[in-house]
């Protein structure tokens, strides 16, 4: 029993110290941010911004952040990638963010309804579902209807998350009832079940399939056009650096941004 007590105490002390350090860090970050933005004035584009972006944007936005910093010297872009609904919860809870890019309009609407968005939304990309299987396609999937076969171990997103509601829409449109062996709470979990060979097939976004490369076989299906996710981006009301935040959203919607997004598997927003 002594061993247990010994390892609990340092853990608590570490956690307490860690939280103190974290509070310290965010306080410094916030003060330096406001100092920079007030010194820069309204017109000049410089200083630091924090971008909250949907997890599916990670690869594209990381690359875009680098090139944005190159195009506007003196700017620093910091990203926080997570599920859109997680990020919305954080912003409503007062997390310091300048820009929010959502994987669906529903989550962005939560922020506009809360009065936390500054200015107009820009729809900058769309994403559609695709079938992925392990590279050798062991179950011989060729169409959306094949997914409904009982011997196919299919993994999809749960209806509560954006990729799951898209799955439901496609199901209805195709008139096919799926019987998945698992309904995951994130699209990454679906992809992992397929790449690890546990599942015969999964429904993920085209961008996830693109990121997985040779670890999956991608099978496009026409019914996917029934559920197209639109990605909006907006500057947030509590931004300390509105000029740089607006410049970043314009950059994402502009030619340079669109090129990177296209390479990552996104389609342009109509």
């Amino acid at each position: 029993m002594l061993t247990r007590r010994r390892f609990h105490l340092p853990a608590v002390v570490t956690a307490t110290l860690l939280s103190a350090v974290l509070v310290g860090c965010s306080a410094t970050a916030a003060s330096s941010l406001s100092a920079e933005s007030s010194a820069a004035g309204d017109q000049a584009i410089s200083g630091a911004i924090t971008v909250f972006a949907a997890a599916s944007l990670k690869n594209a936005f990381t690359e875009l952040g680098e090139s944005f910093q190159g195009a506007y010297s003196g700017t620093t872009v910091t990203f926080s990638f997570a599920g859109s609904s997680d990020l919305v919860t954080q912003v409503i809870g007062g997390a310091p963010a300048d820009v929010f890019a959502s994987a669906d309009t529903k989550n962005m609407t939560k922020l506009t309804d809360a009065g936390l968005v500054n200015g107009a939304l820009v729809n900058f990309a769309t994403n559609t579902l695709t079938i992925v299987t392990p590279p050798e396609n062991p179950a011989g999937i060729a169409s959306f209807a094949d997914l409904a076969k009982t011997e196919v171990a299919l993994v999809v997103c749960a209806p509560e998350v954006p990729c799951g509601s898209a799955t439901e829409k496609v199901e209805t449109a195709a008139g096919v009832t799926l019987t998945p062996v698992s309904e995951e709470s994130s699209v990454t979990d679906v992809l992992n079940k397929v790449t690890s060979g546990e599942a015969d097939a999964g429904l993920v976004y085209l961008t996830d399939a693109a990121a997985a490369g040779g670890r999956v076989t991608t099978i496009a299906f026409p019914e996917s056009s029934e559920a197209v996710n639109t990605y909006p981006i907006a500057v947030l009301k509590d931004t300390e650096n509105a000029a740089a935040a607006a410049a970043f959203t314009a950059y994402v919607a502009g030619p340079a941004g669109q090129e990177v997004l296209r390479a990552a598997g996104f389609a342009p927003s109509p």
């Binding site: 002594l2 599920g83 062996v181 698992s182 309904e183 709470s185 060979g197």
Partner: protein
């Protein structure tokens, strides 16, 4: 029982420096305050309907059933493990103890990945299982495996401690009087450490009930099959924060009952 007597000596205002109470109260507040904050967020008007929805009840039932099975497995496997660790001496024992207790400090998601590469379709034993027609991934069996994996060290550690403090005195006397090793184990050792075994089992049950990471990684998530209460809470949080808070409260309530149950048996030392 040295630990309990040490606690009694220093308990209840018997010579502790007063300043010790300041960090102690702070620490207590650190633990209690978040639970209180959650309690304040509960939507009491809809609490009943939120926790009795089909999805919630299915998750609660699955959680209780799988945790019970996992606890039985922990007792069946963990008791002999604790006996060997506490009573036998052979080279490499310390190393074995460290390895066996590893899931205690391992992030559960790592446990999930390890289980996947063992029992998964492409895993070390997965192909053997598949050959006999057993599929573990995405089944309730996978949930039980994940829970047992993370809960087992709790039982082993708790019981091993009890065995060590109980000592070998009575066992040696019983042996000296002519009882064979199995009789000694059955009639002397096990009855002697029964409170420790009970509190170890309660700890294992509580750990199994809270299992999340390994289950999510290894078992998947399907209502009534693999979606336990923690997974349901995680999913509900995406769309319905009220339901997530209500279910969290249910889990807290079950945990409180479990702790009271364990402490009621006078096994404070182990918890």
């Amino acid at each position: 029982m040295t630990f309990i007597s040490a606690r009694r000596r220093s308990g209840a205002g018997s010579g502790l420096p007063r300043w010790v109470f300041i960090p102690a109260v702070l620490g207590g507040a650190f633990v209690v305050l978040p639970l209180l904050a959650m309690l304040l967020r509960v939507n009491w008007g809809q609490f009943g309907s939120l926790i009795t929805s089909d999805a919630s009840l299915a998750a609660l039932e699955l959680s209780l059933k799988t945790s019970a099975v996992s606890t039985v497995l922990c007792v069946l496997l963990g008791t002999p493990m604790a006996l060997v660790l506490a009573r036998s001496r052979f080279p490499g024992l310390r190393l074995i103890r460290s390895l066996v207790l590893l899931p205690l400090v391992l992030p559960p998601v790592v446990g999930g990945i390890a289980l996947l590469y063992t029992f998964g379709r492409q895993g070390l034993l997965g192909q053997t299982f598949q050959f006999v027609g057993i599929r573990i991934a995405f089944s309730t069996t996978a949930v039980v495996l994940a829970q047992t994996f993370v809960a087992l060290p709790f039982l082993v550690l708790s019981l091993e401690g009890t065995l060590r403090t109980a000592g070998r005195q009575y066992e040696l006397i019983a042996g000296g009087l002519g009882a064979n090793p199995t009789t000694v184990l059955r009639r002397v050792t096990i009855p002697l450490v029964l409170p420790g075994l009970f509190s170890g089992a309660v700890l294992a049950f509580a750990r199994a009930l809270g299992e999340f990471g390994a289950t999510l990684t290894f078992a998947g998530s399907l209502q009534g099959v693999t979606r336990t209460l923690p997974l349901e809470i995680y999913l509900q949080r995406e769309s319905d924060a009220d339901a997530a808070v209500a279910l969290s409260l249910v889990l807290v309530a079950v945990a409180v009952v479990v702790i009271i149950l364990a402490r009621g048996r006078g096994t404070e030392g182990a918890l």
